[in-house]
């Protein structure tokens, strides 16, 4: 079953055409790696999926539900916007944890705020509210355990290493049960010796049947984890296929040059 379908996404900033028509689809439980040199449009594509940029043209569908369509000019209600937003989760290159909150509160805050708002609107009883909050907190504990960060529960982000921060950010994104979890170069801001722990954490998610889109510069990681690899160049998908095809038998000249450059380093 097709979970994510992206059709004809175009995006330009001023006169620069960053995305020139992107089409791809993704099955449930699949891991997609997007590779390509800087400026090829990978990050912009990911930001379009997460509503951080609005595509000029195109359509995005998640499980037969249209979440974005440039033809549809009707204004969406804030509730609908939020529902569409939460179909995707995003882990940023620079973590973007909330510095004033503990690790645990970073994970629970978005859900707790949403719950409190709902409780006010629907006049939920205090006990029902507290029960739901306890549920959110239990889930955060479980996610921290999964990320191997249970002892860091009450630490603040400034007390953690970059790798630990990024694992907290992954737990925070998972706490909202996104249908598709996106990663924007999740290890690019890390010291080389810290990339391993983050990549292992992402790899472990694959076993849990998470659908993921990963923009990455780590070729070995893409090769090992992805079910599908997209190579982008100059705002178009230059080549797409299984890791074996893309890394083993690259067809386009640009992809061969790109892979060669990666080997040279």
């Amino acid at each position: 079953m097709e979970l994510l379908k992206v059709e004809g996404i175009k995006k330009s900033f001023g006169r620069t055409n960053v995305l020139k028509g992107i089409d791809f689809s993704l099955e449930k439980g699949e891991v997609l790696a997007i590779i390509g040199s800087s400026g090829s449009g990978k990050t912009t594509l990911l930001r379009c999926l997460n509503f951080l940029e609005t595509p000029d043209l195109g359509k995005i569908t998640v499980a037969d539900h249209v979440v974005f369509d440039s033809e549809d000019k009707k204004r969406k209600s804030s509730r609908e916007k939020r529902e569409n937003q939460l179909k995707f989760g995003l882990v940023f290159q620079s973590f973007n944890l909330f510095p004033q909150y503990t690790v645990h509160k970073n994970i629970t805050l978005p859900a707790v705020l949403a719950l409190k708002k709902q409780a006010r609107k629907e006049k939920l009883s205090a006990s029902a509210k507290n029960e739901a909050i306890a549920e959110i907190e239990k889930k955060a504990d479980a996610l921290l355990l999964q990320m191997g960060l249970s002892e860091k529960k009450n630490s603040y982000p400034c007390q953690l290493s970059g790798g630990q921060c990024q694992r907290v950010a992954i737990a925070r994104a998972l706490a909202l049960d996104p249908e598709i979890l996106c990663f924007d170069e999740p290890t690019s801001a890390l010291d080389p010796e810290l990339t391993g722990e983050v990549l292992r954490a992402i790899k472990a998610l694959k076993g849990n049947d998470h659908t993921m889109v990963i923009v990455t510069h780590e070729m070995d990681f893409a090769r090992n984890v992805a079910d599908k690899v997209i190579f982008m160049a100059d705002g178009v998908i230059e080549e797409v296929g299984t890791p074996e095809d893309v890394f083993g038998a690259p067809k386009s000249q640009k992809l061969r040059a790109f892979l060669q450059k990666d080997k040279d380093i």
Partner: protein, 245 residues
Amino acid sequence: MLSSATQWFTNELPMIWERFVNAFMPDTLEEFNTIAQSLWGGFLTTLELFAMTLLFALPLGLIISFGSMSKFGPLKYITKVFVWIIRGTPLMLQIFIVFFIPGIVFNNPIFKQDRFLAALITFVINYACYFSEIYRGGIESISVGQYEAGQVLGMTKAQTFFHVVLLQVVKRILAPISNEVITLVKDTSLVRVISVIEIIKVAERFSSQGLLWPLFFTSIYYLVFNGLLTLLFGYIEKKLSYFRA
């Protein structure tokens, strides 16, 4: 040479000391107590103006800063021109204008009865404009990633601002705000131009009768109060040092 120095110490110095004592020291403890008490009465007005100004100007400044950061052009430029006028003219002049305008323009001198209110309105507007620029600097210095994280986590703009951004802004602007607050304590002395009886106005009554020490003694009130404020800001800074923003 040596003898003239000795002479200075034996003849001149006692005279200088005496003049100093006459100017700066009360004659009796009773005189000191009475005058210190009436100065305290004036200082209560100073404190009231200070506290009420902060109470209204701190939130109003936030609203003005939203205006000057607005994406709606006219609102943004009207706000910026307003802030330019308020910051670009003397506070003393603004006090006069607010005090006299209702009488001149509307033939209704409402502030004749309540001079303090005229002073308070002027101070709130003036300080809100200064605060708004400090807020704007603080808000614009927060990385866009914090807002984006809020958005992808399904938080509303208001939730992101009040639960994520605001405390980080507070931490960053604490030093410039403490500057403004301490300046405010001293600026309150300007309201005597419309005869609001604050501490310096009280002291001036004595100095016009030839008694100078009360005027100089007002500095002790300001110094002690600003010392307390400095301690308070140091305490808040320490309270917020548990995170890095």
